[in-house]
Structure formats: structure tokens, C-alpha cells
């Protein structure tokens, strides 16, 4: 028998170490230490009800266990085989105690739909995929549904574009299908470019067949026979696994001519991108595939009318496609029953930053940020204070504590000044400077701007200059107004999505962290201690014994002797000339007396 005790940060804070100790001690007293083994585990992702104790093999799941409950669990459960009812999880809906963790899936905040096969099947073996029902959705479409019925089903499911903008997928397919002609294209946008985002890569690496199948379904629905995957060359493993999947599907006759005896032909080719962020924009992506510069063009005409090689094309993101087969097999109603009112299904996020359980997560739409950060993510690293969470990458914004209970869906994130984006989610604590964060994202957009339209090319550059000024302590209050003006113009006039959303990180930090900007401008202070130019190194003259070790180590010769001798010391104390100091920190690491600090 095994006793698993949660060793996540949250549960450790509420005495899980004491619980383990009590188990070991009482089991030893009763001579059971050889029969029952106590193990500390990782986070259960249910911190709200922690500490968690799970007894195996019967999967009993005890919540909010206190150290003094241990004896009872041992006497009742382990010795007599009776569950301790009052420690079991109480289902808030029907007020019943649930004991078996296998039947309490609802406690788990995560639901894997797009990632259903990731980490479950061998991605390079089509048989494992078929044993999980792979390609049956394609079979169902080809033998039991008309193309229009497929489009209707996807529309009815409420699936929206997972690349970030959230356009209804079924509607997009319908628009393309209307322009029926001999040569049409299904394009999979696998140009994942947000800093720190890897949702699409994980899907392609873990379950490439779902993309192959979904593209074939889309081809059938809109009347296309060619599929193209635009993937970055810096994803070699994803490319390899997609190639293997395509070859295996061809071998089984699931791609190629006359698929499943239906008369429908479809095949897929890969196209490699060199990793330009703007090529995630669909018109730029298409130009890049055509061998031209990856620059966007004005919409309309939309790709549904004038796409790859001037032919009607439908572009969807990897995660969007990954949802399609399961919508067909389980039905639109099932899919529409998950999520919030206007955003259906689930969303995959790459959870990163100052959080305990960094990971790839998938949650139903409508889950709150609080659940993601404090339950699934296990809280902030080192027990520090939560400051902000960045969603939507360079197109998104920062949300703060007041947004923690915001349900995550397309509308509410946009209303809060951020956006869904493709799924990057960076959690920040009080050691992050919000001005520096805004500057980081703007540096990214400046580098990635294609340069075609002036608002994006020049406007963002000017904004970056102002932000640099502010972080170096040369900013004025007028600069803050200027940032807003520039942002408004860029938003209104930039050509494509990249430019139109590029001021968002600045705007949302201005809105939510105005005080911090003012502090940088007026007090020339960075409270997080990130902006180097605003830091001041100071020697505490009462603590300094005047040994001169810092002076010897200063590469900028910024340290000199003063006339002051502190009481109890024999030598005069040292001082730092701020105009010479380069803020390298060499003095701090040299001083053995803790006399030097950063202000």
C-alpha cells in the first residue's frame, strides 16, 4: 500500500511535511512501516483543497488533511479498511462525498481536447493513433456527411480561431467554400512565433495525425485537394514527425487518391518558413509560400477569395485544426457544451514565468486566471507576490490582480485590454518591472516589423525610443502622453494585425501600472530594481569600516575615501560617485560587511 502526500509548494506551506512525518512515525509505532510506504509527490493541481493525501491502490483522495488527522486515517482506512468520510472531497453540486479520484475528474481544472493524444500515443506510429479513433472523423465525413454538413457542424460547435483573433472557423470555411473552383488550398499556419509559446509545436510533435486528418476534413468541406503546412524550419522534430505522419497516412490510403473509397483526393506538402513573426499573418504567410517577401497585403481580398497562387485558400492555425476531428466524432453539441457562452471548447496555454508548475496546460474556456495561476500553476515561485500576467504575446497585454477572477475567453480578455493570442501566458511577480516588460515586447515587434507600412515601421521605433528614455531616467510626463498618442495612431493605421496590435503591451501597462511609469519619470526610480540606469549604489557610511576592498575592485574608479570616520571604526568610510558608477555590482560582491546596497 502507498500513501502519496502532496509536496507542492502550497501544500508544503500548509504542513504537508508534518503530515508525512506523522504518517511515518505512527506507521512505525504500529509496525506497519514495511507494508505501507509514504511518498511525497509533485503538485496535484488542487491547492485550494490542500494538503492532499492519496491512498493507493484504492485511489482514495483525502482533502484538507491536517497533521492530527493522520492517526485517524491510519486507524480507520489503513488498518480497518474504512474510508474517513469527513476528509473526502465534498462535491459542491450534489453535496456528496467523492472518494475515488478516478471519478472526480471534475476537480481537475484541466481538460485535454486538442492535446488528447499528446503524451499518450507514439506520434510516429499511425496504428496507435487509429486505436484511439484517429481518422474516423475523416471516414465519417467522407461516407456520411456532405461538405455543407461538415461546415455546418463546425459552425455549430462554436469553434473559433486558436491563433488568437478568434474568427469562427466554420464561417471561415463557408466563405471559402462559396468560391468553389478547380484549384483550392487548405493551409495550416504552423508559424508559431510568440516569445515563449510552444502549443502548436507540442501538438505537431505529440499528435501530428490529428493535423493531417483535420486538413483532409477541411479539404473535403471546402472542396480543396491540396494541403500545405507552413512550418518554421526551426522546428525540426515537428517537421520530422509531420513527414512521418504524412507518409504513413499515404501508405494507409488516408491521403492520396480516392480516400477510403469515396472518390475524394487530398494530399499535403510542407513549406518551411525562416522564422519571421509577421509570416503568422495569413497574407504574409501566403506570400512567403509563394516565394515572395513575407509582407502582408491589405484585406480584402481575403485569402478565401484570393489566396495561395491567387486561388481561394483557407488558413487555420494548428490548434484550431487539432479540435476539428473530435468535433466531428463527438458532435457539435458536445463541443459547444464546454466553455463559456461565446467561446467554446478549451484553450492550450504555455504557462511560464515566475510560477511553480511551469507547463503546457489546456483548460476549458471561462476558467479564471486565479485557477490557472494558483491551482494548476501551484502559485508564485518562492511565495512572492503576484504582480501581473501577460497573455497574447507581443499583441496582448498585462493583466493584474483585479483581473484574477476574469473568466478567460476572447471577449473578456479583450475587454480587460489584453487578448487571447495564441496561448503564451507569462506570470510575473514583484521583481518584474512593467516598463521594462513593455519595452521588451516593443523591441520584439520593432525587430519583427516587416517595414512595409510606416505606422508600424516608424511609429513603433519612436515608441521604443521613448520607453528607452523612460527606463534610463530621462523621461518626462509629456512622453507618457506621447506614447498614448502614437499608440492610438498605430492601432488605427497599421496595415496588418502585427502593427495594429503592437502598442497593446504599452497601453495595457500604462492603464494598469500608471504609478510605475510615473515613478520612473518623476522619482527616477524602478521599484523592481530592473532598470539598471535608475539604480543607485550607495555605501552606508556607518557600516563601512574603510577597508577599501570595494575601491580596489571598482573597474570605473567611482569609489573614493570620505572624511567621515564612523564611531567604532578606525578608517574613513568610502563613497560612490554616481556619475562614474557603471552599476556593475562588483563592489557589492566584494564588501564583506554588507555596507553597500542598491537603492
Amino acid at each position: 500500500m502507498h500513501v502519496l502526500v502532496c509536496g507542492g509548494t502550497g501544500c508544503q506551506a500548509s504542513a504537508s511535511a508534518q503530515i508525512i512525518e506523522n504518517f511515518q512515525r505512527i506507521l512505525a509505532e504500529k509496525g506497519l512501516q514495511n507494508e505501507v510506504q509514504v511518498v511525497r509527490t509533485g503538485c496535484f493541481g488542487f491547492c485550494e483543497k490542500g494538503p492532499i493525501v492519496k491512498i493507493m491502490p484504492d485511489n482514495t483522495f483525502y482533502t484538507q488533511v491536517k497533521p492530527e488527522d493522520v492517526e485517524k486515517i491510519i486507524n480507520e482506512h489503513i488498518i480497518k479498511g474504512r474510508k474517513v468520510t469527513d476528509l473526502l472531497y465534498l462535491d459542491p453540486e450534489n453535496k456528496e462525498h467523492v472518494s475515488d479520484s478516478k471519478h472526480m475528474g471534475f476537480y481537475r481544472k484541466q481538460l485535454r481536447i486538442a492535446l488528447r493524444n499528446c503524451g499518450f500515443i507514439n506520434p510516429e506510429n499511425i496504428d496507435e493513433c487509429i486505436s484511439r479513433g484517429g481518422y474516423e472523423a475523416l471516414g465519417k465525413c467522407l461516407s456520411e456527411m456532405t461538405p455543407q454538413q461538415v461546415i455546418d457542424e463546425v459552425t455549430k460547435s462554436g469553434l473559433r480561431g486558436r491563433g488568437g483573433a478568434g474568427f469562427p472557423t466554420g464561417v471561415k470555411w463557408g466563405l471559402c467554400a462559396k468560391n468553389k473552383c478547380d484549384e483550392m488550398y487548405v493551409i495550416c499556419n504552423a508559424d508559431e512565433g510568440d516569445p515563449g509559446a510552444f502549443m502548436d509545436r507540442s501538438i505537431m510533435e505529440g499528435d501530428p495525425h490529428s493535423i493531417v486528418e483535420a486538413m483532409a476534413i477541411c479539404g473535403y468541406a471546402i472542396g480543396a485537394t491540396h494541403g500545405l503546412v507552413y512550418i518554421r524550419a526551426e522546428y525540426p522534430l515537428a517537421i520530422h514527425r509531420l513527414q512521418v505522419a504524412i507518409a504513413q497516412a499515404r501508405e494507409y490510403g488516408l491521403l492520396g487518391k480516392d480516400i477510403l473509397g469515396s472518390g475524394f483526393d487530398f494530399d499535403i506538402e510542407l513549406r518551411y518558413g525562416a522564422g519571421a513573426f509577421v509570416c503568422g499573418e495569413e497574407t504574409a504567410l501566403i506570400h512567403s509560400m509563394e516565394g515572395m517577401r513575407g509582407e502582408p497585403t491589405l484585406k480584402p481580398p481575403f485569402p478565401a477569395v484570393h489566396g495561395y497562387k491567387g486561388q481561394p485558400s483557407n488558413v487555420n492555425n494548428v490548434e484550431t485544426f487539432a479540435n476539428v476531428p473530435i468535433i466531428i466524432t463527438k458532435g457539435a453539441d458536445w463541443f459547444a457544451s464546454i466553455g463559456s457562452e461565446k467561446s467554446k471548447g478549451t484553450k492550450v496555454f504555455a504557462l511560464a514565468g515566475q510560477i511553480n508548475n511551469v507547463g503546457l496546460i489546456e483548460v476549458p474556456m471561462g476558467t479564471t486566471l486565479r485557477d490557472i495561476i494558483y491551482e494548476i500553476g501551484g502559485g508564485i515561485k518562492g511565495g512572492r507576490k503576484f504582480k501581473a500576467v501577460q497573455t497574447g504575446g507581443p499583441s496582448g497585454g498585462c493583466l493584474t490582480e483585479k483581473h484574477l477572477d476574469t473568466p478567460i475567453d476572447y471577449e473578456s480578455l479583450a475587454a480587460a485590454g489584453s487578448m487571447m493570442g495564441s496561448g503564451g501566458m507569462v506570470v510575473m511577480d514583484d521583481t518584474s518591472c512593467m516598463v521594462a516588460i513593455a519595452k521588451f515586447y516593443l523591441e520584439f515587434t520593432c525587430e519583427e516589423s516587416c517595414g512595409k507600412c510606416s505606422p508600424c515601421r516608424i511609429g513603433n521605433k519612436r515608441m521604443l525610443e521613448i520607453l528607452t528614455k523612460i527606463t534610463e531616467g530621462r523621461g518626462t510626463m509629456d512622453d507618457l502622453q506621447e506614447l498614448r498618442n502614437l499608440a492610438a495612431v498605430i492601432k488605427d493605421t497599421a496595415l496588418c494585425g502585427l502593427g495594429q496590435t503592437s502598442p497593446n503591451p504599452v497601453l495595457s501597462t500604462l492603464d494598469n501600472f500608471w504609478d510605475e511609469y510615473v515613478e520612473h519619470v518623476v522619482d527616477k526610480k524602478c521599484r523592481a530594481g530592473v532598470c539598471k540606469k535608475l539604480m543607485r549604489y550607495e555605501i552606508d557610511k556607518e557600516k563601512c569600516i574603510g577597508c577599501g576592498a570595494c575601491k580596489k575592485n571598482c573597474p570605473a574608479e567611482a569609489i573614493s575615501k570620505t572624511d567621515y570616520i564612523a564611531p567604532g571604526h578606525k578608517l574613513p568610510s568610502m563613497m560612490i560617485d554616481p556619475s562614474k558608477c557603471i552599476k556593475c555590482g562588483a563592489c557589492i560582491s566584494t564588501c564583506k560587511f554588507g555596507a553597500i546596497s542598491v537603492k
Binding site: L4, T41, C43, R108, G119, G139, E205, P236, E251, G253
Partner: protein, 129 residues
Amino acid sequence: MAKVKSLAELKAMREKLQSNIDLREKSNDPDSLVQIKVAMATCGIAAGAKQVMEHMMEKADELKLSIVFTQTGCMGYCHAEPTIEVKCPGKDPIVFGHVDNNRADEILTKYVMNNEMVEGVIPVNYETI
């Protein structure tokens, strides 16, 4: 491999493939049953998953354990890479995190051979459809 001709054929194939897996799970020969999945997305490999898998395969040979090793995609536990899932016959699969060579040996000698639990269990905190 002959081409699959229809949906009915595909469904029949699925059933056959599923029952093959069931057969493997229900067989009476306990030694042949242990299955280990290694999370091998780019990030898992970068964290050392491939090398650990190779090491485990050698160690399993050395210990005369017949284990079915498979690679799989991302399990989502970036904070604990490399991660592996161990499925022993008649038991629920268990995920272990931070598996280096030493811990891999420990998992094989303690958990697989003696049903003794080792530290580093990651509770599966999601539901899959």
C-alpha cells in the same frame, strides 16, 4: 500495408489494434507487461529524455526486465522534465518527473521490480477525452 478502403474497414482496424493492446495488458506473463512511455517533444529531448531512455533500455537489459519502451509527445509537465510514465500490470500508470540516470535506475529496481514507491511522482492533474 494495404490501403484502408472504407470507414467500416477503419473501424475494424481500430478494434483489432485496441484488442492487441488489451491482450498485451491482460496477458498472464507479468514480465512482459511493463510499459514505459518517455515524453519526447523537443523540450523533453533537450532536457535529456532521449539519453535517459537509452540508459533505461540498457539497464532493463542488464536487470533482465522486458519492458516495452515507447516515445510519446509532451505530457505538459515542463517543470519536471524529463518525464516518464510507467505502467505496471494491473496498476494505474504513474508519472515520474525529473528522471535522470540515477532516478531511472531507482525506478526500475525499486518500483518496477519491488513495487516500492520512489519520490518524484507527478499526479496527473488533467482529464483527457
